[in-house]
C-alpha cells in the first residue's frame, strides 16, 4: 500500500491557503442531504459537530458520557498556544511551527504542523467571540503565560481550567445546533464497530449504555474524535472512561494505526498513594513557570524539605538544561525525574517523587499572586495529598498523559478508508514523538473548527448522499458481531474482574513500554500480553445483564480491546530502533543520556495494517520529507 499524505505542492506558508481554495464544495441545499456521524464530544468532536451543523449537514453526535460537556478535554488545565505575539517577544507562526516540530523530535509532518500554527490565531478569535472567559490584563486585553518547550509567552488561559472553558465554548456551540435541529445528540452511547462498504466508511454500530440495545447508524462519513489511549497503562491522567475502542475497531476494519508507541508521560503528576489508586492527577505544566524542581543531593535524605539547605539541593532540570531550566519539554523533564528517582534521590513514599517548590516564587510574588495563578491546583493538591503546597513543596512524579499516536490520516484528516476521518488526539498527525504543552487544545480545535469542515466537503462532493441504509448486510452482520461479542463477555463467568485484568496489563505496559523501553523488556511484554489475553477470555467475570446499564461490561469490552492494542504498541516500540521524543529505547542514547534519533533509518511514520487475529500486522512507511526544517539533535541545554 502506498501511503499518500496528499500534501499540497507549493511553499510551506502558502500550502493550506492555496489548497483550501481548490477543495470541492457541497452546495448549501445539498448539505442537508448528507449525514455525518461524529464520535466523541471533546474539543475536536464538539467543535467539528457544531461547525458541520452550522454548515447545514445532518450530524449525529455520539458520546459515552451522560452529557457532551463531560468529555475529557474538560480536564486540560494550563492553556492553549497561539502565535499572536501579543507580548512583543518575537513570536510568529514560523516560530510556533518550529517549536512544535522540534518539540515533536522531528517526527511529525511539516505541512500539517505549519497549518496548525497558522490556524492557531483564528482559534483564539473564535473562542473569544463565543465568550470564553480568558484571563485578561488590566487593560482588558488578553493575557499570556509561558509553557514548556518555548521561550516566548504564547499560551492563553482561563485560570487553571482552560480545557473546561474551551470545551464549554464548543459544547455551547453544539447545543445551539441541537436547538437548530442540525445535530442530534446520542449521550451514553458507545461506538463498538465501524461499518465499511466497498472500502468506504458508511456507519457505525453502537451500544446504548442504558438499555444495552445494539444498533446500527448509517451515514455518508464517519468522524472519530474519540481521544487517546493512555489508559492502556491503567494509571494515567485520563478519565476512567477513556479508551481505544473506537479507533481500534476502525483499525480492525482496515484503517491504519500510526506510531502507537508515541505516548507522552507527563512530568508533573501527583504520585500514587497505594495499591487502591484508580487514576493519577495532573498538576498543570504551567506550575513549572514558578515552581522549581529539585531533589536532595544526599540519597535517602529524610529531612523535611525546608530543612534541606539550598546547597544540598539538586535543581536537576536547571543544572542539566540551563537555557530552558524547569520549562524543558515534557519527555525530557519526565525522564530526568525518573532518572534521579532510579538513582535513589527520590522523595516521598517509595522514593517515587521529586519536589516542585514554590517557596521562592511565593517570597518573590506574594501568596495572592500565586493564588490567582494556581489557586485551584494548590487546592486540588491539598485535597488529594493532605499537604499544603503553600507551606511545603509539592511532590510530583511522571504519569501517562497523552497519545501522540493514533489513526493514520492524510492532509485532509481522512484515514486510508475513504469517508473515515480522525481528528484531535485520535489521529497521529501533528505532535510527532512528543507533544508540547498547550498544543493539544490547539490541535483539537484546529481540526474541528477550521480543517475538517473544509476537507470533508471535498470527499462528500464525490459520493451520493444516503446511498446505504442499515438494512445492508454489512450493517446487520456488524450488529450481530457486536451483540455476540458483548454476550460472550458476560457468559465467560470466570473469577477475575475487568479491572483486575486492566490493572495487570497497565503495570506491565508501564514497566516495559513506559518512559524507557528495551528490546528485552518489550519481548517479555509481548509474550505476557498474549498469555494475559488468553486468561481474559477464559477467566473474566462480569456480573449483571447485557440489556441494561452495566458498567463492568462496558469496561470489559474496553479492556478486551486494550489487550490486543497493547501488543501493537509494543510491536511498534520494538521495531523503532531509535529514541525520539517520548519513545526512549535504552539501546539508543547519547553519552549524556539524551534520546538518540536515527534519521537515516527511522524518519518515517509507522502505519500498521491489521491482518487478522493472531497474524502480525503489516508495517507501511510514510517517509517524512522536510522541506524547510533542518533536522538537528534537540537541545534544550
Amino acid at each position: 500500500m502506498r501511503l499518500d499524505a496528499k500534501i499540497p505542492a507549493g511553499p510551506l506558508p502558502q500550502k493550506w491557503e492555496a489548497h483550501r481554495s481548490h477543495l470541492q464544495l457541497v452546495s448549501p441545499t445539498n448539505k442537508r442531504r448528507y449525514r455525518i456521524i461524529v464520535v466523541g464530544t471533546g474539543l475536536a468532536g464538539a467543535s467539528a459537530a457544531a461547525s458541520l451543523g452550522e454548515l447545514g449537514y445532518q450530524v449525529e453526535s455520539v458520546c459515552f458520557q451522560d452529557s457532551a460537556r463531560r468529555a475529557h478535554s474538560i480536564a486540560a488545565q494550563g492553556g492553549i498556544n497561539a502565535a499572536k505575539n501579543y507580548r512583543n517577544d518575537g513570536d510568529s507562526v514560523e516560530r510556533l511551527f518550529y517549536d512544535t516540530i522540534k518539540g515533536g523530535d522531528f517526527r511529525s509532518r511539516e505541512a500539517n504542523v505549519y497549518r496548525l500554527a497558522q490556524i492557531s490565531n483564528a482559534i483564539i478569535d473564535q473562542c473569544v467571540a463565543q465568550g470564553v472567559p480568558f484571563a485578561r490584563e488590566y487593560s482588558g486585553y488578553l493575557a499570556n503565560r509561558s509553557f514548556g518547550g518555548a521561550q516566548v509567552s504564547r499560551t492563553f488561559y482561563a485560570r487553571g481550567q482552560t480545557g473546561q472553558q474551551l470545551l464549554l465554548g464548543a459544547y455551547q456551540a453544539l447545543m445551539r445546533q441541537v436547538d437548530a435541529k442540525t445535530v442530534t445528540l446520542h449521550p451514553r452511547t458507545e461506538m463498538l464497530d465501524l461499518v465499511v462498504i466497498d472500502g468506504h466508511a458508511k456507519g457505525i454500530v453502537v451500544r446504548d449504555l442504558v438499555t444495552g440495545r445494539v444498533s446500527p447508524f448509517a451515514a455518508d462519513a464517519v468522524v472519530l474524535a474519540s481521544g487517546g489511549y493512555s489508559t492502556v497503562y491503567y494509571l494515567s491522567t485520563n478519565a476512567k472512561g477513556c479508551n481505544v475502542t473506537a479507533t481500534f475497531r476502525a483499525y480492525k476494519r482496515g484503517a491504519l494505526f500510526a506510531n502507537p508507541c508515541y505516548t507522552q508521560i507527563h512530568p508533573t503528576c501527583i504520585p500514587p498513594s497505594g495499591q487502591h489508586q484508580s487514576k493519577l492527577t495532573l498538576m498543570s505544566e504551567s506550575l513549572r513557570n514558578d515552581g522549581r524542581v529539585w531533589v536532595p543531593k544526599q540519597p535517602g535524605d529524610r529531612r523535611l524539605p525546608p530543612q534541606v539547605p539550598p546547597a544540598e539541593r539538586d535543581y536537576f532540570l536547571e543544572r542539566k538544561y540551563p537555557s530552558y531550566g524547569n520549562l524543558a519539554p515534557r519527555d525530557i523533564a519526565s525522564r530526568s525525574a525518573k532518572q534521579v528517582c532510579d538513582e535513589g534521590y527520590g522523595v516521598g513514599p517509595g522514593g517515587q517523587g521529586v519536589y516542585l517548590d514554590f517557596a521562592e516564587a511565593i517570597a518573590r510574588l506574594g501568596e495572592p499572586v500565586i493564588n490567582e495563578r494556581y489557586g485551584n491546583l494548590f487546592q486540588m493538591y491539598e485535597q488529594i495529598t493532605g499537604e499544603n503546597p503553600y507551606l511545603t513543596p509539592m511532590r510530583i512524579y511522571p504519569a501517562p498523559h497523552y497519545a501522540m499516536g493514533g489513526l493514520w490520516v492524510d492532509y485532509h484528516l481522512m484515514s486510508n478508508l475513504p469517508g473515515l476521518y480522525a481528528i484531535g488526539e485520535a489521529n497521529f498527525s501533528d505532535h510527532g514523538a512528543n507533544r508540547l504543552g498547550a498544543s493539544a487544545l490547539m490541535q483539537g480545535l484546529a481540526d474541528g473548527y477550521f480543517i475538517l469542515p473544509y476537507t470533508i466537503g471535498d470527499y462528500l462532493s464525490t459520493v451520493t448522499p444516503s446511498s446505504v441504509r442499515t438494512e445492508h448486510p454489512a450493517f446487520t452482520d456488524a450488529t450481530q458481531e457486536v451483540t455476540q461479542r458483548t454476550q460472550r463477555l458476560i457468559s465467560i463467568r470466570g473469577q477475575r474482574s475487568p479491572d483486575a485484568f486492566h490493572r495487570e496489563l497497565g503495570t506491565l505496559m508501564w514497566d516495559q513500554c513506559g518512559m524507557t523501553r528495551s528490546e528485552h523488556g518489550l519481548k517479555q511484554a509481548l509474550a505476557r500480553i498474549s498469555q494475559l489475553r488468553a486468561e481474559f477470555w477464559k477467566d473474566l467475570k462480569v456480573v449483571g445483564a447485557a440489556q441494561q446499564l452495566n458498567q463492568a461490561l462496558e469496561q470489559a469490552g474496553r479492556v478486551a480491546d486494550f489487550l490486543e492494542f497493547a501488543e501493537l504498541v509494543c510491536l511498534d516500540a520494538l521495531h523503532r530502533q531509535e529514541s525520539c521524543g517520548g519513545h526512549f529505547r535504552v539501546e539508543h542514547q547519547t553519552p549524556d543520556g539524551e534520546a538518540k534519533r536515527d534519521d537515516s533509518n527511522f524518519a518515517y511514520v509507522a502505519a500498521w495494517q491489521y491482518q487478522g487475529d493472531g497474524q502480525p500486522p503489516t508495517l507501511h512507511k510514510e517517509p517524512l520529507v522536510f522541506e524547510q526544517v533542518q533536522l538537528a539533535q534537540r537541545s534544550y541545554k
Binding site: S47, E54, Q65, D66, S67, A68, R69, R70, H72, I74, A75, D125, Q126, V128, A129, Q130, G131, P133, F134, A135, R136, E137, S139, G140, Y141, L142, A158, R159, Q161, Q164, Q165, Y171, Q172, M175, V178, D179, L185, A239, K240, S273, G274, H276, S278, K279, Q379, M380, Q383, I384, G386, Y449, F450, P453, Q495, D499, V542, V543, Q548, L549, Q551, A552
Partner: protein
C-alpha cells in the same frame, strides 16, 4: 479503617429502591471516596453480586459526572470539592456512611446511584450560548473585557453542571445552574446582544423541566463543588426582570 455503608440500590426500570448495608474494612485514609466504592464493587463482583452503579469519569473534580449524596450532603462533607476529590481521611474509623443518588423530579434515577441529568443539556440548548458560527469573528483583542468582568464571568463559568445545587435544594431548584450560565454570558460584552432573549428562554426551559423555585435557602452554594455564589441568582433575577419589562 472499618466503615458501615448504607447504599441506595434501585434496579433499572423499577420506581422503588431500598438501602442495603455493606461493611467494609481495610479502608485506607489516603483512598478517595470512589476508590473505596471501587473496592466494594470488586468484592461484590467476586461474590457474584451486581456491583453498585455510580457515575464518575475524570476523578479530578472537573467533568461533573460524579454525583453522590453522602450523609445527606451533596458531594459529601467537604466544601468546594466534588465526590471524586473527597478522601477517606475525612471520615472516622467505625463511622456509618449513607450514600444516595441525587433526588429530584427532573433527575430520574436510572439505576442505583445513577441519575438522568439531560434536563441540564436542554436548558443550555434554550440559549446558553452566544450565537456565533465558526469563522467571521473579529480579532480577539478588538473585544477588550475589563479584568473585573472577566473574573466575574469566570467565577460563574466555573460551573461543572454536576447538579449538586439541585440535589441540595429543598425545592430541587436549578436556579444556581441556570444563573451561572446566564451570568457568565451577561457579564461579557460578547453576550450582550442576546441577553434578554437568553434569560427568558432559559428560565422557561428550566420551568418546563420540572425544577422547583428558589426560596433563598442557599443550600446550592454550600453544596457547589465550584463554590458558585448565589449572587448570580440575584443577577439572573435582575436580568429576567429587565427582559420581562422590555418584552412587547
Amino acid at each position: 479503617m472499618r466503615l458501615t455503608l448504607k447504599i441506595w440500590r434501585q434496579a433499572q426500570d423499577n420506581p422503588k429502591g431500598t438501602f442495603e448495608r455493606y461493611d467494609v474494612d481495610d479502608v485506607s485514609p489516603d483512598m478517595s471516596f470512589l476508590e473505596m466504592l471501587d473496592i466494594l464493587n470488586e468484592r461484590l463482583m467476586h461474590e457474584g453480586k451486581e456491583p453498585i452503579a455510580f457515575d464518575h469519569d475524570c476523578r479530578e473534580g472537573i467533568c461533573g459526572m460524579c454525583s453522590l449524596m453522602i450523609n445527606g450532603q451533596a458531594h459529601g462533607p467537604d466544601r468546594g470539592v466534588a465526590t471524586c476529590q473527597l478522601h477517606m481521611r475525612r471520615f472516622k474509623d467505625g463511622e456509618t456512611i449513607v450514600i444516595e443518588p441525587w433526588r429530584a423530579k427532573a433527575f430520574p434515577v436510572i439505576k442505583d446511584l445513577v441519575v438522568d441529568r439531560s434536563a441540564f443539556d436542554r436548558i443550555i440548548q434554550a440559549g446558553g450560548y452566544v450565537s456565533v458560527s465558526t469563522g467571521g469573528v473579529p480579532e480577539g483583542n478588538t473585544i477588550p473585557v475589563p479584568k473585573p468582568a472577566a473574573e466575574q464571568a469566570m467565577d460563574a463559568a466555573a460551573c461543572i453542571g454536576c447538579g449538586a445545587c439541585v440535589a441540595a435544594c429543598p425545592n430541587a431548584s436549578a436556579m444556581l445552574f441556570v444563573a451561572a450560565k446566564v451570568s457568565h454570558l451577561a457579564t461579557l460584552p460578547q453576550g450582550q446582544v442576546e441577553k434578554d432573549q437568553r434569560v427568558l428562554r432559559m428560565v422557561e426551559a428550566m420551568d418546563q423541566e420540572g425544577f422547583g423555585n428558589c426560596t433563598n435557602h442557599y443550600e446550592c452554594m454550600a453544596a457547589c463543588p465550584k463554590q458558585i455564589h448565589v449572587k448570580f441568582i440575584t443577577l439572573m433575577n435582575r436580568e429576567y426582570l429587565k427582559a420581562s419589562i422590555k418584552q412587547p
